[in-house]
């Protein structure tokens, strides 16, 4: 009853959004200055740099003829960029992203959790299941009033699950491909009915569908309950992930054509860009929210132990 237009104007959602944006900027240090790297300009700059790097490596190692050649059957990515060069190219942004997230996690954890002794495996498990099912985003059981102010809906939760599941399947696809290559000795390209391709396809479709759905909801949501800077970061991440998914699916679809080389490089650039931008994007919410859930579950279990007199 106190939300605008009431004179008290208690409007909680944008306040919490602003707090989350502040948390991110407090715990993640940006090397090149926020203003230069922020927003669409920063995103396109990163994409351009990634494309240039990827194209340079491809031309140096394979040459333009390999890039544009067509064989009529599926081609291997290693025909465009040999395996060692690809590994080196991807190692840089991956390590960079992981290091950035881990550093942010450690700094947040130090400030947020004074009593680390309360954190047991059961607590971590509860936090993990809460994160996976978005347990605390169900509005007490009746779902949240998003995107409509009039009626509650679980759409955002389900679409997020689709997106997250898709991302996990893409990860599974990469890991299974690595296993097939290094342990079983089978080199790409893999047949359609193989774990890497099926997982990657399902993952890409899920990721793309989740992103499209969440973008659709966001367009229809109320401006009153959103915080502009957070919304901009949301749009940025969703668009980047959508681009990643679509370019990945395009790689699969064009792998027998002459466009494969270029499409593969575009997808590779999208991957590099996503990793480079990850620590400064909304992707960090996975880290901070998960740690906050761990802290919450630890506090709850601590209170239960206290009340039982243990």
């Amino acid at each position: 009853m106190y939300t605008p237009p009431h004179e008290f104007a208690i409007n909680l959602p944008p306040v919490l959004s602003a707090a989350r944006v502040a948390t991110s900027s407090d715990y993640v240090r940006v090397p090149c200055g926020r203003r230069a790297m922020g927003g669409w300009r920063g995103a396109f700059a990163t994409l351009a740099v990634s494309l240039a790097a990827v194209a340079a490596v491809a031309l140096v190692t394979g040459g333009p003829r390999q890039l544009l050649a067509s064989r009529g059957t599926a081609r291997s990515p290693y025909a465009i960029i040999p395996y060692p060069a690809l590994l080196a190219l991807l190692a840089v942004p991956t390590v960079f992203a992981l290091a950035g997230m881990v550093r942010a996690a450690i700094r947040y954890w130090r400030d947020a959790v004074p009593a680390a002794s309360a954190v047991k495996p059961a607590v971590i498990w509860r936090a993990a299941t809460a994160a996976a099912s978005l347990r605390y985003l169900k509005g007490g059981g009746e779902e949240c009033y998003y995107p409509s102010d009039e009626a509650p809906s679980g759409a955002r939760r389900h679409l997020h699950a689709l997106l997250f599941g898709g991302l996990l399947l893409c990860l599974a696809s990469t890991v299974s491909a690595a296993a097939l290559q290094d342990l079983a000795g089978t080199m790409p390209p893999y047949p359609i009915l193989s774990v890497p391709v099926l997982a990657g396809s399902a993952g890409g479709i899920g990721l793309a569908a989740g992103c499209c759905g969440l973008l659709w909801l966001k367009v229809r949501s109320s401006a009153l309950t959103s915080f502009a800077e957070a919304t901009a970061k949301d749009y940025g991440l969703l668009t980047a992930l959508l681009f990643l998914a679509v370019s990945g699916l395009a790689v699969l679809l064009t792998r027998s054509t002459s466009a494969f080389g270029v499409v593969f490089l575009v997808h590779l650039a999208a991957v590099v860009m996503c990793f480079l931008a990850a620590p400064y994007s909304k992707l960090t919410h996975a880290v901070f929210r998960f740690l906050a859930l761990v802290q919450h579950e630890a506090e709850v279990s601590h209170r239960q132990l206290d009340s039982r007199g243990a």
Binding site: M1, G140, E142, S148, E150, A151, S153
Partner: protein, 489 residues
């Protein structure tokens, strides 16, 4: 006209319809028209719709203010046989009845009050069936965890839930649609005049339910009974409850029920907004403080009983004081014993400074505090029970939780009466039909909620009871109104 069937889509989020235009409102003869948009009105509308009637609900406020005073509520008091997830223990009918008889001068009409108490037992189940969700009570809720049931998200969420249920079941809802007149033929109400999109339209129906609230927002009407004191009242709820429909009903010969000066009022912060400040402006410091009026003198026993049993009497007591103002003063020993006031608390190093800061006569206040301190008998202080800390030989006494005001910093807050709703309304019989001055009744006109609360409440209030009245009588009125409509086909 065949008995209408209604569609229900349980569990799916509602697709909310656009509000009806004048053509839709006027073109058809409705089975039931409900005047109002709060708990009683929505309950009546849903009950009538459940019974198969075509229902139009006319909410006067714009949609962001819909729901009347219900927006500010938090819980409902109902009889229940056993503890469950949301109530920590049983609340038998006898105890509820004793509690009701213990407030103010007791119930106005024992039969109607008894029905309200007994019928409340089935209300939570009805509410749950219409989508209402519940939550355990949190802190700052007057220790109501056993007797009262809290709905998830408070009154605004309750209103939203009922609106969704109404849309799902096919109730047609018009907001920004005040009713300006009622058209009677003998003992039948033939139509109401409602404004839709700013122009008056004649809306006809077989039965009408009036659930349009009290007249507490009408300062002019309050002045008739309270004089200029009413200009100093703060109205806790909606500014739209000006009693327009009530006045029309009186003009049409409806009988009166309730006392002219009957209302539910509490002590609120004097800095609260004039209208619609809601629950946040309530002050809970009184039992752990001393209360003085503008002359610096105490006038009532701050510790007479547990706060949940006394909070509703302080509105009236402050209203009786000169200038309708009072001041709650405490020292740092009482910090943390109650929810912090919403606005900043005046703090000072001495009583005299505190009095000056609150624009009181420092000498008078110091004298009062000295007298009080001298009369305090030491005991063991326990805020949770009626403890042994009291005053001796002081008038008025402080019967419990009396401790000396001697530990700086000293704090104080200025208070005014905050009126929740008025009790004076229309007389009803056991079928919720409005009764006329000559004792006969209107055959197709029903009332529910604040507008008939005077049939139950004389003075004084029981937390959560307003919604009980609205739900019990709204359900009865809606069901019987649908029956009248069915019989008139």
């Amino acid at each position: 006209m065949a008995r209408l069937r209604w569609r229900r889509a349980p569990g799916r989020p509602a697709r909310l319809a656009a509000p009806p235009g004048p053509a839709q409102v006027q073109a058809r003869h409705w089975d039931v028209v409900v005047l109002g948009g709060g708990n009683a009105a929505l309950t009546a509308a849903l009950a009538a719709r459940d019974a198969g009637a075509s229902v139009l609900l006319l909410e006067r406020a714009p949609s962001d203010m819909r729901g009347g005073n219900t927006r500010h509520t938090r819980n409902i008091r109902c009889v229940h046989a056993a503890a469950d997830a949301y109530c920590s223990g049983p609340y038998p009918r006898d105890e509820f009845w004793r509690d009701l008889c213990g407030v103010g001068e007791g119930p106005s009409n024992a039969e109607l009050a008894d029905f309200t108490v007994r019928d409340s037992e089935s209300v939570p189940g009805w509410m749950s069936a219409h989508g209402v969700r519940w939550q355990p009570p949190l802190t700052g809720t007057l220790h109501l965890g056993r007797t009262n049931r809290f709905f998830l998200g408070g009154g605004k969420a309750l209103v939203n839930t009922y609106y969704q249920a109404a849309y799902r079941s096919g109730v047609v809802i018009a907001d920004s649609a005040p009713v300006t007149g009622l058209d009677f033929t003998g003992d039948r109400c033939a139509a109401v005049i409602a404004e839709v999109s700013g122009r008056p339209y004649r809306v006809t129906a077989s039965a009408f339910v009036c659930a349009s609230g009290g007249f507490e927002a009408n300062i002019g009407w309050l002045q008739r009974y309270w004089g200029s004191a009413a200009c100093n009242y703060i109205i806790r709820g909606t500014p739209f409850n000006d009693g327009t429909v009530l006045a029309e009903l009186y003009a049409a010969g409806a009988g009166r029920a309730g006392q002219e000066k009957g209302f539910h009022a509490i002590a609120v912060d004097s800095r609260a907004p004039r209208f619609d400040g809601g629950i946040a402006t309530r002050l809970d410091s009184i039992p752990f403080s001393i209360v003085v009026n503008a002359a610096g003198e105490r006038f009532a026993d701050e510790g007479e009983d547990l706060w949940p049993k006394r909070y509703a009497s302080w509105g009236r007591m402050v209203a009786m004081q000169p200038g309708q103002s009072a001041y709650s003063l405490w020292d740092s020993k009482s910090d943390g014993l109650f929810l912090p006031p919403m606005y900043e608390v005046t703090t000072a190093g001495s009583i005299g400074e505190l009095a000056t800061a609150l624009e009181l006569d420092p000498q008078a206040v110091c004298r009062t505090v000295a007298e009080y301190n001298q009369a305090v008998v030491d005991g063991s202080f326990d805020p949770a029970i009626l403890d042994g800390c009291h005053t001796a030989g002081l008038t008025p006494p402080k019967s419990h939780w009396a401790r000396r005001l001697d530990t700086p910093p000293f704090r104080g807050v200025a208070m005014r009466p905050g009126i929740t709703f008025t009790y004076l309304g229309v007389s009803v019989d056991g079928t919720a039909r409005v009764v006329r001055q000559d004792g006969s009744r209107f055959c197709n006109l029903f009332a529910a909620g604040e507008i008939m609360s005077g049939n139950i409440l004389s003075t004084g209030y029981l937390a959560g009871f307003g919604l009980t009245i609205g739900s019990v009588w709204g359900r009865l009125a809606g069901t019987l109104a649908a029956g009248v409509a069915y019989a008139s086909q």
